[in-house]
């Protein structure tokens, strides 16, 4: 049995036995880790509150034969800002779900950890309808399957002639090559800003039909890459009862 210390963001939890939980987290230097936290569902638990999804923690884990055990937890930053608003909270959870799907167990993925921490930090301090979409597009770039929006994926026609976006081909298309759904020029511009390093431009935009177009497309691209539906996004797709 060895002990190690790491920083982590809690991705999700599963109830185990009477009062225990399995904690799934994205760590800085050990990749995605699953570990048992004993007795955290009891009222008297000393660190149960720090192990809710979205918490950014400093954690001490002892490795076991199969699952490790959580020995100690300290908060790095509390997710209080995210828990104060329903939209922020659901966007945060949608980020966790994507990272949970992309991360590999015990395979160091420091970039995933850093991107997640950065995005959550930004989300807890600012309001933007596009932060989730931007996070998804950036994740896809980091995975090596970023959306191609500078030129047509079929013939290389320049940016001002793009009219459609095909998720299967992974990018925007001109009128002659189009096989995907129509996309507005504003939406193309926003995605160009996101993947082209002008993130702040995109994040400062007010909600509009173009930002909604980008948000829907980001989810579609991410779902296409993961080959599964993102549950946390689907839950609030029809908020009107």
């Amino acid at each position: 049995m060895t002990l190690y210390r790491d920083k982590a963001v809690v991705l999700r939890t599963y109830d185990l036995r009477e009062a225990d939980r399995i904690i799934v987290m994205m760590t800085e230097s050990h990749g995605k880790v699953r570990a048992v936290a004993n007795g955290v569902r009891k009222m008297s638990s000393r660190f149960g509150a720090r192990l809710e999804p979205l918490s950014h923690v400093d954690i001490l884990i002892s490795t076991g034969k199969n699952l490790g055990t959580v020995n100690q937890v300290d908060l790095v930053t509390s997710a209080k800002g995210l828990y104060a608003d329903l939209d922020r909270l659901t966007m945060g959870l949608a980020m966790l779900e994507a990272v949970d799907q992309l991360g590999m167990e015990n395979e160091p993925t420091e970039h995933l950890y850093r991107m997640l921490v950065g995005a959550l930090q930004w989300l807890s301090e600012n309001d933007s309808s596009l932060v989730l979409a931007a996070f998804y597009f950036k994740l896809l770039v980091a995975e090596g399957v970023g959306a191609q929006v500078e030129a047509c994926v079929g013939c290389g026609a320049p940016g001002d002639r793009l009219v459609a976006f095909d998720v299967f081909r992974g990018g925007a298309q001109c009128r002659d090559c189009r096989s995907g759904a129509t996309i507005s020029a504003e939406a193309i511009g926003i995605i160009q800003d996101i993947v082209g390093g002008r993130l702040n431009n995109a994040l400062s935009l007010r909600a509009s039909s173009a930002t909604r177009e980008v948000a829907a497309l980001a989810t579609k691209c991410m779902e296409h890459h993961l080959e599964r539906r993102l549950k946390s996004v689907a839950v609030f797709e029809s908020p009107e009862m």
Partner: protein
């Protein structure tokens, strides 16, 4: 490999091991115990199970477990129909009744919104809650949900859909257990307790 047990015994063990918290080893122990028991005791158990299953149903108004169409709280005129306490499961109703502090009616959601598992508002009894507000003249809805992610998401969602109906929406406080020690409280709980502090009248 053929089972070491006789067929009826194996069937009993299989049925028992499907119960929550009971593994194959416990199932085997219970099965052996039942076989050794007197016939009268076993019959009592089996009739209690079938009776409970046929007689207990959901209250049509609040979805608490009930023997009749309305549960004992919804059918009681002395209880205040203008205050509704929203809980996740029937067992939470029991916990709140034990406090003897609440005299309104209940509404059981039969779950909580859980985005990470894909459980959305339409899978819960939220529509039914909204339909109770006007006919009953509800003035206050108390959200009595667990202080965790699912409870927070559900509370904020309910607040968002209930506010436009003109009802007061409150959520139970979260803080230190009675008889506890500040020194041992974690910072999140203590922080919430500070946030929800109130004036002391001496």
């Amino acid at each position: 490999m053929a089972s070491a047990y006789t067929q009826p015994m194996q069937a009993l063990i299989d049925a028992l091991s499907r119960l929550p918290g009971i593994g194959p080893k416990s199932a085997q122990r219970i099965a052996f115990h039942l076989i050794k028991c007197e016939e009268r005791d076993v019959e009592q158990l089996s009739s209690a199970i079938t009776k409970a299953k046929t007689m207990v149903k959901f209250c049509q108004r609040c979805f608490n477990f009930s023997e009749s169409d309305l549960c004992q709280y919804c059918g009681d005129d002395r209880r205040d129909a203008t205050t509704i306490c929203v809980v996740e499961e029937s067992r939470d109703v029991i916990a709140i009744e034990k406090t003897r502090e609440f005299s309104g009616q209940y509404h059981v959601l039969l779950g909580t919104i859980n985005p990470l598992d894909g459980v959305g508002p339409e899978q819960l009894k939220i529509r039914e809650l909204l339909q109770r507000i006007e006919p009953q003249g509800v003035k206050e809805v108390i959200l009595c949900l667990n202080p965790n992610t699912e409870g927070d998401v559900t509370s904020m969602y309910l607040a968002r859909v209930l506010r436009p109906l003109g009802v007061k929406v409150t959520r139970i406080a979260s803080g230190l257990p009675v008889g506890g020690d500040l020194e041992y409280a974690d910072e999140l709980t203590l922080g919430r307790a500070l946030e929800g502090r109130r004036e002391v009248v001496g």
